[in-house]
Amino acid sequence: MKPPPFTYHAPGSVDEACTLLGTLEDAKVLAGGQSLIPLLNFRLARPQHLIDINRIAGLDRIYERDGGVAVQALVRQATVEDSDVVARVCPLLTDAIHLVAHRVIRNRGTVCGSIAHADPASELPAVLLALGGSVVAKSTRGERVIGAGALFAGVFETTLAPDEILVEAWFPSSSKPCSVIEESRRHGDFALAGVVRAGDRLALFGVAPTPVLADRLDPTRGLEPSGDLEASADFRLHLIRALTAQAFAA
């Protein structure tokens, strides 16, 4: 048995899931599982309770609102990849999804899960930040909207409260030039470094504990990326300068 012991819950509604999250100690939400299950298999995560939201009906919609596109918690990345609405309203999101792992992973992984997981090298949090999007968090205490700028708190850390579920992510449309460019060893790998351009805004990923906004004219100011076997800190800074120039060259 690979995962550590946990108690499994499969609520049938968001309200039921919120009640469970509000009452149980040390509970984790399981959506696509493409990040959480590896962490369980390695026993790097040992939550006492798993709240599997996959049985909740009506949480898998993509729809337009407020000049953007909303993606609910159970929408698979592959569905977003194939979505005509997303391609029309927010093509930057379609482009970014292509860079997320592989199709087989995207068949199961969710957009909201990627954002809640807050991996610093992940594309989707940086896209949300560059566009100035937001998420909707729900709990038994009510519902609140968290702007991307206030969401990412640290490595794998968000400002979601322990009793809150991220039920929806909202990506605003942009009429200005947008692009996402990253450098990775192989297609589908996590990026060594990457940039997202949304008009004049620039967000970086893979070079700080969270995705960060940066000045296009001096994108590496204040950055202290870590170095590892894949890339040194200096190489990551070089990549940011090169990719930023590329993103704004068009």
């Binding site: 690979k2 590896p38 298999n41 592959a78 792992a101 199709r103 992973i105 068949n107 589908g188």
Partner: protein
């Protein structure tokens, strides 16, 4: 859950991974387990027609869904599935450990793109690791499978489950 067209009970133990359930409980050892964290692709199976990693899903989560494993692509004694036939013809395997995962990924790829471009083929197989043949013959096998595939691509007795778009 339905596995290769047969109704099977979900396990009592909620900690059991789908990959281990298929192998240990159902005896379907054609699904191989390599890295157990979603990187190698050996454990790829079809969930409602779309390829997924069975090591990244709990078996209980498959309750109410249709699964197809490598054993479900062709019945014993029947003609091989076009993708299996293509791998056989093109020598797209050496030790064979990664092969079931590759075959299931390619079945999914061809369901999504019946006529994939070279780039789509490369992306489609990039999530599976092969450490002995190299990928040239596997790429050739995908092209060959495309020629051999009657459309829509489907496994025996799986009905619409394999025709793609059945993703939940």
């Amino acid at each position: 859950m339905k596995v290769n067209g047969v109704e099977r009970a979900a396990p009592d133990d909620t900690r059991l991974l789908l990959s281990d359930h298929l192998r240990h409980e159902l005896g379907l050892t054609g699904t191989h387990v390599g890295c157990e964290h979603g990187v190698c692709g050996c454990c790829t199976v079809l969930l409602d027609g779309a390829p997924i990693r069975s090591c990244l899903m709990l078996a209980v989560q498959a309750e109410g869904h249709e699964l197809t494993t490598i054993e479900g692509l062709a019945r014993d004694g029947a003609a091989l599935h076009p993708v299996q036939q293509a791998f056989h013809e093109c020598h797209a395997l050496q030790c064979g450990f990664c092969t079931p995962g590759f075959v299931m990924s390619v079945v999914g790829l061809l369901a999504q793109h019946p006529h994939p471009t070279t780039q789509q083929i490369e992306e489609g197989i990039s999530g599976n690791l092969c450490r002995c043949t190299g990928y040239a013959s596997i790429r050739r096998a995908v092209h060959r499978a495309m020629e051999l595939s009657p459309l829509p691509l489907g496994g025996e007795g799986q009905g619409e489950g394999l025709q793609g778009g059945g993703r939940k």
